[in-house]
């Protein structure tokens, strides 16, 4: 047990530190970086990393340090919003489906349908129809993720309501809403939190992919995806341009995933007992 919790902590803390290393500078971007991420300075084109431009400057002479930090804001906002929307929608639909069996078959078939929509194509279609915006990015990423949450929550509800302690609560006349609040939600939450971290990591990656393909947030706003796409072209001239956004992206996704693993180990008492 003791050994288990220390291992849990190491992955949990490592994740938290990595995520914090990206999150804090991104949030403090306006104070950390004096340069305007959108300002075009032709004389600084492909400037090498140095005191002037910490991470160098890109093909239009924009400050990469500043763009990376602001790009982090985009990534983290997309990750957070997608996670919140997906979990809120998915948990509601999944719980309804698990508790009200008549609805179940219909709801689950709709979810199967949603799962069949490829996120990238949806993003391209939405961008073509409504133009690029944060909204289209969030909708495109969240749509195929919602069914995953629905499936998890539904199966949790189905198994938890058969638990003997739930039956025991029924047997002492605990009203149904209280049973849900007291016995089902707390025992379903850990798995949901862990899934949420994985969805967050996936959303950040997908956002970068969309940016790379040019169907993410509007191209003038910095995002790690569109920065990588632009840097790709000038890779031979200025290889550091592709390095920094990629590095930040990797650290963020790794951090979120480690945090998820740590949470899973600490929140799941069955797993903790086994270790």
């Amino acid at each position: 047990m003791r050994r288990g919790s220390s291992r849990m902590n190491s992955s949990y803390w490592m994740g938290a530190v990595l995520l914090g290393a990206v999150l804090v500078p991104s949030l403090l971007a306006p104070w950390l970086s004096s340069a305007d991420p959108l300002l075009i300075e032709p004389f600084s084109r492909f400037a090498q990393p140095g005191p002037e431009h910490l991470f160098g400057a890109d093909a239009l002479g924009r400050d990469v340090f500043s763009r990376t930090l602001y790009g982090g804001q985009t990534s983290l906002v997309v990750g957070a919003v997608v996670t919140l929307v997906t979990v809120a929608l998915g948990a509601t639909i999944g719980a309804t489906s698990g508790f009200f069996r008549p609805l179940d078959a219909v709801v689950m078939r709709i979810m199967d349908g949603l799962m069949a929509i490829p996120g990238l194509l949806l993003a391209i279609a939405l961008a073509a129809t409504f133009g690029n915006s944060l909204m289209t990015v969030v909708v495109a990423i969240a749509t195929p993720e919602v069914p995953r949450v629905v499936r998890l929550v539904r199966s949790l509800v189905l198994s938890l309501r058969e638990e003997l302690y739930v039956m025991a609560a029924v047997a002492v006349a605990t009203p149904r809403p209280v049973i849900i609040k007291r016995h089902i939600v707390p025992n379903a939450l850990p798995a949901l939190v862990v899934l949420a971290t994985y969805i967050c990591a996936a959303a950040i990656l997908t956002e970068a992919t969309l940016g790379f393909l040019g169907v993410g947030v509007p191209p003038e706003y910095p995002s790690w995806g569109n920065m990588i796409a632009e840097a790709r072209i000038s890779f031979q001239v200025a290889p550091w341009l592709i390095l920094f956004p990629s590095l930040f992206l990797t650290i963020t996704v790794l951090g979120v995933n480690l945090l998820g693993d740590g949470l899973r180990d600490s929140l799941d008492p069955k797993l903790a007992e086994k270790i």
Binding site: M1, R2, R3, E163, L164, Y165, M167, A168, A169, V170, A171, V172, A173, T174, P175, R182, H183, P186, N187, P269, E273
Partner: protein
């Protein structure tokens, strides 16, 4: 059987197949105790069955694994000692040599035959596998050998069963297949680890007599590991009683179990339910509490094929429980006894039939006043590990019901502390969580939760089945006490007739969803009306020994103390 036994008990000291000398096995440093097995010595001759008898955590399975060379190293290690098999020291063998020994010289049968068999292979091929690995027999010869083995295991229609898959066999047949493959190479030593614990009592009796028989037929030494005194009494030539990794007492089964020399063995024997109806179980009140009439229930399985498989779980089952009595509902697994219990508790719905609680139809009562019904009727389940919400303190679990009934918070918590003391758990533990307690303690907490409602009827669904015999005895005593000091009626669901005989005034015997017989305990034991009841009675292991002797009870006052440690 008596005759076979007396022949087999002839001391065959010349031909000791297994000799374990001063075996000591260490546990990891953070374990409850330092040594899993502490200086244990015993021997088994060919044609002899030695039973290692012990409660959970006594180290009996570790000994088996040590002999097999299957200890989970490096977590658990043999520190010292010698394990001799036909004069060869198994501990000194190389891993490769040990692999050859397993199967050829030592083999093992486990508790759950279903999990030990590969679900994707026909059972005949699985037995044949052993022969293919260890012998040079040709395919045809292997098949003939397997068929002979299966026939020896008294499996029916061997040609057909050869090609059957594990799930198509009953639990007893699966265990026979396991024994067949363990004996395929005619090993010197067969280790059987709780081989009948997962089986019904009638199946258990047949498997035990099979083990007896093959022990002689195959000239093997058998080491049988069990927690059940009855099983040891039934098949053991000799018995070694284990506790905390030490041999407390050993010797010929009869002398050890009939006149135990050690306090622990005496306590163990006193805890074993006598196979005799106890007196003093007659109800002292005669008001009808609950009456179930003609309850039927059919489960319709949902499957991919259009028509679902139907299972009739209950057929016109009827029973009554009066105030102040404990009624047993006895049957083998899958007979529908738990379904009936849950239907009576309104946790499942019947297809038809009527249940009256204190004269009022329960459906109507629930519609009128659910809380009154729930307050009057409580249920405790078999599995104490799943019955408590792991995220709530045991106090929170206990006060939940009383709070629902409108009892004030302060009163409910005081009540929870009092009831915990009643079931033998320190009241200060109310703020602790379920994982901090052992299985026996958890079950007592579950009982406390039910009793905190001060119910008129308690449904006890296999509440002692998962517990060690000493803990089981405490809980039965406690139920008896409660019944005597209040008018509590109990519906006691169990698969174990011995336990039912201990505390029930009347017993209903159930088979395939029907109650085949319901009688006062005494007359049920003396003159069972149904063949099925008779076969259940006859199948109880160790019957002869347990019936024939009246073991002197140790002083009742020192029992809880000595049991508490084992708990």
């Amino acid at each position: 059987m008596g005759a076979a036994k007396s022949v087999a008990t002839l001391p065959d000291t010349v031909n000791k197949a297994l000799e374990v000398e001063n075996l000591t096995v260490t546990l990891p440093p953070d374990a409850e105790r330092r040594l899993a097995v502490d200086d244990v010595s015993f021997s088994v001759a060919r044609n002899e069955i030695l039973c290692l008898l012990g409660e959970s955590g006594s180290g009996k399975s570790i000994i088996a694994l040590a002999i097999m060379g299957l200890l989970p190293r490096p977590v658990v290690n043999v520190r010292s000692g010698r394990i001799g098999l036909n004069g060869q020291d198994l501990l000194a063998l190389s891993p490769r040599r040990m692999r050859q020994m397993r199967g050829q010289q030592v083999s093992m049968v486990f508790q759950e035959p279903m999990t030990a068999l590969n679900p994707l292979l026909p059972v005949g091929d699985q037995i044949s596998e052993v022969l293919r690995t260890h012998t040079k027999l040709r395919k045809k010869e292997r098949r003939d050998r397997v068929l002979t083995l299966m026939d020896d295991m008294q499996l029916p229609d061997c040609e057909r069963l050869y090609a059957a898959y594990p799930h198509q066999l009953s639990g007893g047949q699966q265990q026979r297949v396991m024994i067949a493959s363990a004996l395929a190479l005619e090993p010197a030593l067969l280790i059987a680890d709780e081989p009948t614990t997962a089986l019904d009592v009638t199946t258990q009796a047949r498997i035990l007599s099979l083990i007896r028989k093959v022990c002689v037929d195959y000239n093997a030494a058998v080491l049988l590991i069990t927690h059940d005194v009855g099983v040891a009494a039934e098949v053991g030539d000799r018995v070694a009683v284990l506790r905390y990794g030490r041999v407390v007492e050993s010797g010929p089964t009869r002398s050890v179990l009939e006149s135990p020399a050690q306090d622990y063995t005496r306590m163990l024997m006193a805890s074993v339910p006598r196979f005799q109806p106890r007196t003093g179980n007659q109800p002292h009140h005669y008001r009808l509490l609950i009456e179930a009439r003609d309850i039927s229930k059919t489960y319709v399985g949902r499957s991919l094929s259009a028509k679902g498989r139907q299972v009739q779980a209950l057929r016109d089952a009827s029973l009554q429980v009066y105030e102040g009595e404990i009624v047993g509902l006895v049957g083998e697994s899958g007979c529908g006894k738990s379904t009936l219990a849950r239907i009576i508790a309104n946790l499942e719905q019947s297809d038809h039939g009527e249940i009256r609680f204190r004269g009022e139809e329960t459906k109507a009562l629930i519609a009128r006043d659910n809380r009154a019904f729930r307050k009057g009727l409580q249920i405790v389940f078999q599995d104490p590990y799943r019955s408590l919400n792991p995220r709530r303190s045991i106090g929170q679990s206990i006060v939940e019901g009383p709070l629902n009934m409108g009892v004030s918070s302060q009163e409910a918590w005081e009540g929870a502390r009092a009831i915990l003391e009643d079931v033998g758990i320190d009241a200060r533990a109310v703020t602790r969580f379920p994982h901090e307690f052992s299985g026996g303690q958890r079950q007592r907490i579950c009982i406390a939760r039910a009793l905190a409602m001060q119910p008129a009827l308690l449904i006890a669904d296999e509440i002692v089945s998962a517990l060690d015999v000493s803990v089981q005895a405490q809980i039965l005593n406690f139920l008896r006490e409660i019944r005597d000091r209040s008018d509590l009626g109990v519906l006691f669901v169990t698969h174990d007739l011995r336990v039912a005989a201990e505390i029930c005034s009347r017993i209903a015997v159930m088979r395939s969803g029907e109650i085949v017989e319901m009688q006062e305990t005494q007359s049920l034991f003396e003159s069972p009306q149904q063949d099925y009841t008779r076969s259940l009675l006859n199948a109880v292991p160790g019957k002869a020994l347990l019936e024939g002797t009246a073991i002197e009870l140790v002083d009742q006052t020192d029992r809880p103390a000595s049991c508490a440690k084992a708990d």
